[in-house]
């Protein structure tokens, strides 16, 4: 556009999508929906060895209304299913969901009367993390995959409307 030429290095141009997605993907506020033993592994991602803060996602918001990413960590049973749905519905858009561990992903080995066979029966899921429980590295990998996914989205997308 020639603006850089006229004004030197005092500003740069970008696309709105790039700027917004850059801000979004490096400042995830997460809602940890923790129900089971996976929670202990999830906590280690916060701790200094793995340090999720490096990705700007260290800040848990315990109100779904202030959260961007819903981490479903652990087994979800039939009695809890409507609660999870309500938490998801309360989150403001844009919002993403990460299914943490095999229980949240598919019910795991709880193939029985009480357990929801995967949270995608209730709410849409963006990233699945396998493992029982997943290694912290897998969680960070999932976070980076989510960042990739976010950077490919557009503020004009209608998917949430």
């Amino acid at each position: 556009m020639g603006l850089e030429t006229a004004f030197g290095h005092s500003f740069f141009t970008s696309r709105v999508d790039d700027a917004v997605n850059w801000a979004r993907k490096y400042s995830f506020f997460q809602y940890p929906f923790v129900t089971a033993c996976c929670g202990m592994e999830f906590m280690s991602v916060w701790a200094s060895s793995y340090d999720i803060a490096r990705f700007g996602a260290e800040f848990p918001r315990f109100s779904p209304r202030q959260a961007d990413v819903l981490f479903v960590v652990g087994t979800v049973n039939e009695k809890l299913a409507p609660v999870l749905k309500r938490v998801y519905d309360q989150m403001c858009e844009p919002k993403w969901v990460v299914s943490f561990g095999v229980c949240a992903t598919s019910g795991g080995f709880y193939d029985n009367y009480a357990t929801v066979q995967g949270i995608d029966k209730i709410i849409p899921v963006d990233i699945y993390i396998p493992g029982c429980p997943p290694r912290p590295e897998a969680v960070l990998d999932a976070l980076m995959k989510l960042q990739e996914k976010v950077s490919a989205e557009s503020v004009m997308d209608k998917k949430y409307k």
Binding site: E78, K79, A81, P82, V83, K85, R86, D111, N112, Y113, A114, Q117, K121, I122
Partner: protein
């Protein structure tokens, strides 16, 4: 000592005790269903079993009396443990509640009702404790289909 315990109960209730078992300090006494409340009261008041540790049920589909109630007692005074069993008929699964004797029995009996459908006479508040209210049937019965799924519930208002 365990043999003494079993013998004491047998001599007190000769007509009600249908079987005993002892193995390495584990004492088991089986009583008739109708006598449960009486025997349990005797255990608590006379033998000092002031602690009801556990209460559960087992489903034996091949038996004539399909269910078996299992109670575990402990005495702080004598450091003795005792397992009490009582058969319950599958067609009419009713047995006396022990909640009036041990408050600990309250939620255990609700669980046994929830999972096996055994009714406890004299229980102050017998309703499901683990599953939701609209859940049908009792999932720990052996004839409950393994793959059966029930309709998803909605959030309570």
């Amino acid at each position: 000592m365990n043999q003494d315990l079993i013998r004491t109960i047998q001599e007190k209730f000769p007509a009600q005790v249908t079987g005993t078992h002892a193995f390495r300090g584990d004492s088991t006494v089986t009583v008739r269903r109708e006598a449960l409340r009486e025997v349990a009261g005797y255990l608590r008041d006379e033998l000092g079993f002031e602690f009801l540790m556990d209460l559960t049920a087992v489903d034996y589909p091949e038996r004539e009396d399909r269910f078996e109630m299992v109670y575990h007692f402990y005495s702080f005074k004598t450091n003795l443990r005792l397992r009490l069993k009582a058969p319950v008929n599958g067609k009419e699964p009713v047995i006396a509640s022990l909640t009036p004797l041990w408050g600990a029995a309250n939620w255990f009996e609700r669980e046994a009702y929830d999972m096996f459908g055994i009714k406890f006479e004299g229980h102050p508040d017998l309703r499901r404790i683990l599953m939701y209210d609209t859940f049908e049937d009792h999932p720990l019965r052996k004839d409950y289909p393994l793959k059966k799924r029930q309709p998803r519930i909605v959030h309570r208002e």
